[in-house]
């Protein structure tokens, strides 16, 4: 009680690695929720005691009044920790959405979300897509400034002649020959070690 469990929730959130999500800790979350109910019950019973003694609620400042005050403060503290937990996770979810727009929620993310978070994930992705289609602007590309689509490459292994490229031109990739290719064309050969990118 008195905020200790609630603070564990926030500490767990803070210990997560920046930008990554941890599993939604529903047990601890529900425990803090039920603590709020408890604080509220105790607050109401103390208030009733003051009323039963026929005292004026507004002006009485006795032990029961201060007891009610402390339960109120604990409840507000718990609320802050619960909201901070959900709010900060929602921020991480939104940053993940930017990286994932256009594809479904990956399972390794989905299993970490509460049902409400999963719903929020889908809803918010939809909102962004709506916005983009209204503006006819794809915001999911160009996260990094664009560079020359062409790169200079050297052939490391005899790939042979008459290779058809994306702009359906053909090229002869003799060993050690140097070419100026579209990155998208060259990438497959580079990843297979048949070509290397020349730096400058």
């Amino acid at each position: 009680m008195y905020g200790r469990k609630a603070c564990q929730l926030v500490t767990e959130l803070a210990s997560g690695e920046k930008g990554q999500l941890t599993h939604f800790n529903s047990d601890l979350f529900e425990q803090v929720i039920s603590e709020c109910q408890q604080h509220h019950l105790e607050l109401q019973s103390l208030i009733r005691k003051v009323q039963e003694e026929g005292l004026d609620l507004q002006t009485t400042k006795n032990e029961d009044h201060f007891g009610a005050l402390i339960h109120h403060l604990a409840l507000v503290r718990n609320k802050r920790c619960l909201m901070a937990y959900v709010h900060n996770r929602a921020e991480t979810i939104r940053s993940l959405i930017w990286k994932l727009l256009g594809s479904m929620i990956p399972p390794e993310i989905q299993e970490k979300l509460s049902n409400s978070e999963e719903e929020y994930f889908k809803k918010h992705s939809a909102r962004l897509k709506e916005y983009m289609s209204k503006l006819e602007l794809d915001l999911t590309v160009d996260m990094v400034p664009p560079k020359d689509p062409y790169i200079q490459v050297r052939v490391l292994d005899d790939i042979g002649e008459g290779i058809v490229l994306s702009d359906d031109k053909t090229a002869n990739f003799a060993l050690h020959s140097i070419h100026f290719l579209k990155r998208t064309d060259a990438e497959q050969y580079i990843s297979r070690g048949l070509m290397e990118e020349l730096r400058g």
């Binding site: 929720i33 709020c36 109910q37 509220h40 109120h72 409840l75 507000v76 609320k79 802050r80 619960l82 909201m83 959900v86 709010h87 929602a90 921020e91 939104r94 930017w98 509460s114 409400s116 978070e117 719903e119 929020y120 809803k123 918010h124 909102r127 962004l128 709506e130 916005y131 209204k134 503006l135 006819e136 602007l137 794809d138 915001l139 590309v141 160009d142 400034p145 664009p146 020359d148 689509p149 062409y150 702009d167 031109k169 100026f180």
Partner: protein
């Protein structure tokens, strides 16, 4: 945007305005940098974005036509690079605005000044995002709390103000420079001036980098006298 400059007066500098081609790229780059560097959302550059989108459309059409009419593909790639650069600027500009809306949507909806800065589409986006977020908060937390504590703006019914709404950090420091010489910039806000904690009025030489707290220069950034970097 009629704005009093909070007492800052501009003295004419004689060095002649450096020639920059009258394209929309420079203004877009300025809008992009200001938006990314400012702690709060800035006015939407509606006409600039409109013009840029037209130019992008026109360039896309001509590139298609060039590549069909057998123009040297490497020249076509130069036009494509120019197009890619402008599209990056536009996308990054719009993205950084949306991310600010996501972060401070409750505050923006409460502040007329900021709300008026949104585009039509951004307003719809903000409303829908608030609806989704509130539903998410209600389902996860608020509906499960005792009444008197279920509000998303106030911690409890006894809270005097909306004490749950994150505000943009206007006291953060930003890197900036001014195109002209600016004097009498008041650095303290009213609260501090009221209790006579005055820093002497600040002058800014033209084109010299400064790091300044955003709040005092907020109106100068919005009126275009100071650029953020």
């Amino acid at each position: 945007m009629a704005s009093n400059l909070g007492g800052a007066s501009i003295s004419q500098t004689d060095d002649f305005e450096t020639f920059t081609p009258t394209t929309d790229v420079e203004p877009l780059k300025r809008a992009w940098r200001n938006e990314k560097a400012a702690p709060e959302i800035l006015p939407y550059e509606a006409s600039l974005v409109g013009r840029i989108k037209e130019q992008i459309q026109a360039m896309e059409d001509s590139i298609e036509e060039y590549s069909r009419s057998g123009i040297d593909p490497l020249i076509v790639s130069l036009y494509q690079m120019d197009l890619d650069r402008i599209q990056f600027l536009l996308r990054s500009y719009i993205r950084s605005r949306l991310q600010k809306i996501e972060k401070y949507m409750l505050y923006i909806l409460k502040s007329d000044e900021l709300f008026r800065r949104l585009s039509k589409e951004e307003i719809t986006f903000t409303d829908r995002c608030r609806h989704d977020m509130k539903k998410h908060f209600d389902e996860s937390v608020l509906s499960k709390l005792p009444n008197n504590y279920q509000d998303v703006l106030k911690q409890s019914i006894t809270s005097e103000e909306d004490d749950m709404v994150p505000e943009p950090p206007l006291d953060t420091f930003v890197v900036c420079k001014s195109k002209e010489y600016l004097e009498h910039i008041q650095l303290e806000d009213e609260e501090e001036r009221a209790s006579s904690r005055i820093e002497e009025p600040f002058e800014m030489e033209a084109n010299v980098l400064h790091i300044i707290r955003y709040r005092p220069i907020k109106s100068l950034v919005e009126s275009g006298r100071i650029d953020l970097l």
